[in-house]
Symmetry: C2
Subunit: 461 residues, 2 copies
């Protein structure tokens, strides 16, 4: 049950320990209480030893002991120090009575894609975007239609520097930002720059997206998988001086790296004179607490920060960016120029206008509300129809991880498929608990989410 | 004077030799007569020996002898067989009397960029393009906003296959087309594919754009410059199995490769089991005769054809394409995927709509008319204000080559600059006659062209 604890708890507890010292105990108690009450920490889950939790959170052991004592007194946890601390049974919101309703199980039923990776294209603000595009095209000077700066149009880089500082705590300036064809091109360029600088390998998270390993490999770096474990990767001794990481919401497990891991990563990068490539792929969508800031803020000299509009607007726009350490900026700009001279200028200007007019912030708020509601529907549906399953990685992003109590993964996948639901096993991304599935819910309506979970419950019965 | 002959004459004579056999003599006579009368072949220029011209044009020596005889009879050429044939003096349209008018020579006068490479951004159909973009965005299915095919959106590839077959004689199909971020990305991808297949070098034209050499170098191939000479490069014995060529309108000399060179290039590629990369960078703008078809049509298996909208619409759109031989298609698609997954989908769809609704053809006709008129203004202005200069490479494209009878190139460049005109010496692109300048006229209005040439005449007096 360790996974259940860690996948959920870091996301819930971290904001508490980042609060001012005098509020920490109260917030930590409250967060742990909520997690148990909401079922995020299932009954019977063994909580970490107080010393281990204190180390991971970067707080004193006394604070954790006090919190455990208080919750034991309140009946949320059981056990004694030294003998283990467990979430008490009977506290989580009970599943509703009654089985799953009839779902769309008939052959030929409309397929539902329950795999991760998609934002909801229906949220893309088509009219506003087309209107801005027209304005940009009408108002742009003639020279703006010609080749642009290989780093991207200046207006966009200025707007991004502001956005990233404000929303993600990124420490940068417009001259160190390079606009790319999505995070994919950001990775290709950085990989090539590293290869040119003598790197042979890059550490990648396991589990993690196979696309990243493919991108690294084709661009001159051998990927070295490193276990994400419960607290993010430990890079000590790994045969690489660069690492691709997703600290805000690891893909696919959904964990957020604890502060100790974040600090250790930046220390590692300094020690080996290396680089972290931070994929902040859905740092914008954090539902229960304030977002964890970008890792880049901890070590702007050691982190190449990558982001895009693929999850917030549309992946088909292929608009992404890098915020680079000084020493990497010129090499990456040269590679960008040697790749395609520069990116398309009109949609870059449209995005700049979208940012500077405040539309992007408003759009993100709308997406955040919508996706959080869908996340809640998913959690409720799983609790109702698949009460034995654990659902984790739900504090942020567009997907969650569903771990079933047992069964053959291939058979479960086939049964889902036969019932009209396409699911993706967690092990598609490497190692992880089995049977486990990475569930993309953000592109589905609440009704579809509920019906799909109900359908799976029938198919998996 | 060999250069003067060859730069001009191939472009004027080629259509004649591609005509049905029974019309060739008449057309060849007429083309040569026009060239001399219009001053494209200056008085005193030595014409090639009949055997050499026959070989190069791929016609019988008897035909050339007959043409020379006829023109000698008419007084257009002088000399006797065996003793050389020369364009007769006094036939070209005479320069007008009087010196150059006062040009904008004062310091601080508005600068004119007389360098090559730009289309006229004022011709970009902003309203039509924005309207189509909106239509595309309004009508596209949700899934169209997501990642696309790495080869480009199918609608665009289908429309391009049709366009390229129709206008340029390219033999391809939508599955072998890859939409790229301009011709630059097309070159990067093909260069990387060649490097991965074991190529070390690529032949590049000398003179030629230094950007191409930079792209080759950064993407794993050492560029080997090959003299363009009078008839295009001879690749025999060159230490490379791939070559970047601009057969329709060599950049910067403006020559069109004669048929013998075209055939020899394709033969060479077969012999060395190699590849030609054809940059059809302004194959669409040919003013005096029907366009020469793409080289790719002669050897679809040996030519990677590259084109873009950079000269026809706007370079800032970064929309280009490759039509690839079968064996290269998968490797290039894999590299495109490993570079940026796919290109931006909305502007690809907009271009597809622009093509299929006939707007692109109409737009090209409009550009062609406009640029031809500007070309004529340039030629007239040069003849009037710089009568001793030769102007070549004028049968197509957006630039011409201006060769002066003498003077120091650096001093002439500085004098032009001081007079408010930025010019680019031909030798920027490698070897070539000196003092020579590559003149970009297509982005300038007729009045500006005339005034600029007049200004140069004063500055260079």
């Amino acid at each position: 049950m360790e996974t259940s604890w860690t996948s959920v708890a870091w996301e819930l507890l971290l904001p508490a320990v980042r609060a001012p010292r005098r509020q920490r105990r109260r917030l930590l108690e409250s967060a742990l209480r909520d997690a148990i009450r909401a079922g995020h920490v299932a009954a019977g889950t063994r909580l970490p030893a107080s010393r281990a939790l204190a180390d991971d959170l970067g707080v004193s052991r006394g604070l954790v002991t006090a919190v455990y004592d208080q919750l034991r007194a309140e009946g949320y946890v059981e056990g004694r120090p030294g003998a283990g601390t467990y979430a008490a049974p009977g506290l989580a919101v009970p599943a509703p009575p009654g089985g799953a309703p009839a779902g769309p199980t008939a052959a030929g039923a409309a397929r539902v894609d329950f795999r991760p990776g998609q934002a909801d294209p229906r949220l893309f603000p088509r009219a506003a975007w087309a209107g801005l595009y027209r304005q940009v095209l009408t108002g742009a000077p003639d020279r703006a239609l010609s080749y642009g700066d290989p780093r991207g149009v200046p207006e966009l880089r200025a707007a991004l520097a502001d956005l990233l500082a404000r929303r993600r705590g990124v420490v940068t300036d417009p001259d160190r930002i390079v606009v790319c064809g999505g995070v994919a091109q950001a990775f290709s360029l950085v990989s090539r720059a590293l290869a040119a600088a003598g790197h042979d390998t890059v550490a990648v998270e396991d589990p993690g997206p196979p696309e990243l390993a493919m991108l690294a490999r084709t661009n001159g770096l051998r990927p070295v998988p490193v276990d994400v474990g419960a607290h993010g990767p430990d890079l000590t001794g790994v045969p690489a001086r660069a690492a691709l990481v997703t600290p805000a919401h690891q893909f696919p497990t959904g964990i957020a790296y604890p502060p100790a891991t974040r600090a250790a990563l930046v220390r590692w990068a300094s020690t080996v004179d290396g680089l972290l490539i931070e994929d902040d792929y859905d740092g914008d969508f954090r539902y229960d607490r304030a977002p964890v800031g970008a890792l880049q803020g901890l070590g702007p000299d050691r982190v190449a920060y990558a982001g895009s509009v693929s999850k917030s607007l549309a992946s088909g726009l292929r608009l992404g960016w890098l915020a680079l350490p000084d020493r990497l900026t010129d090499p990456v700009v040269d590679l960008k120029r040697a790749d395609d001279l520069c990116g398309p200028v009109l949609e870059q200007r449209t995005l700049a206008a979208f940012l500077t007019t405040g539309r992007y912030d408003a759009h993100l708020r709308r997406c955040q509300r919508t996706y959080r509601a869908r996340r809640d529907v998913l959690v409720a549906a799983v609790r109702r129809y698949l009460p034995a399953a654990r659902i984790t990685g739900i504090a942020a992003g567009l997907h969650a991880v569903l771990v079933l109590p047992g069964g053959d993964e291939a058979a479960l996948t086939a049964a889902a498929e036969a019932a009209g639901v396409r699911v993706l096993p967690l092990r598609h991304y490497g190692s992880g608990p089995s049977p486990g599935f990475v569930v993309g819910y953000a592109h589905l309506t609440p009704d579809t989410i509920t019906n799909t979970v109900a359908t799976l419950a029938v198919a998996w019965r």
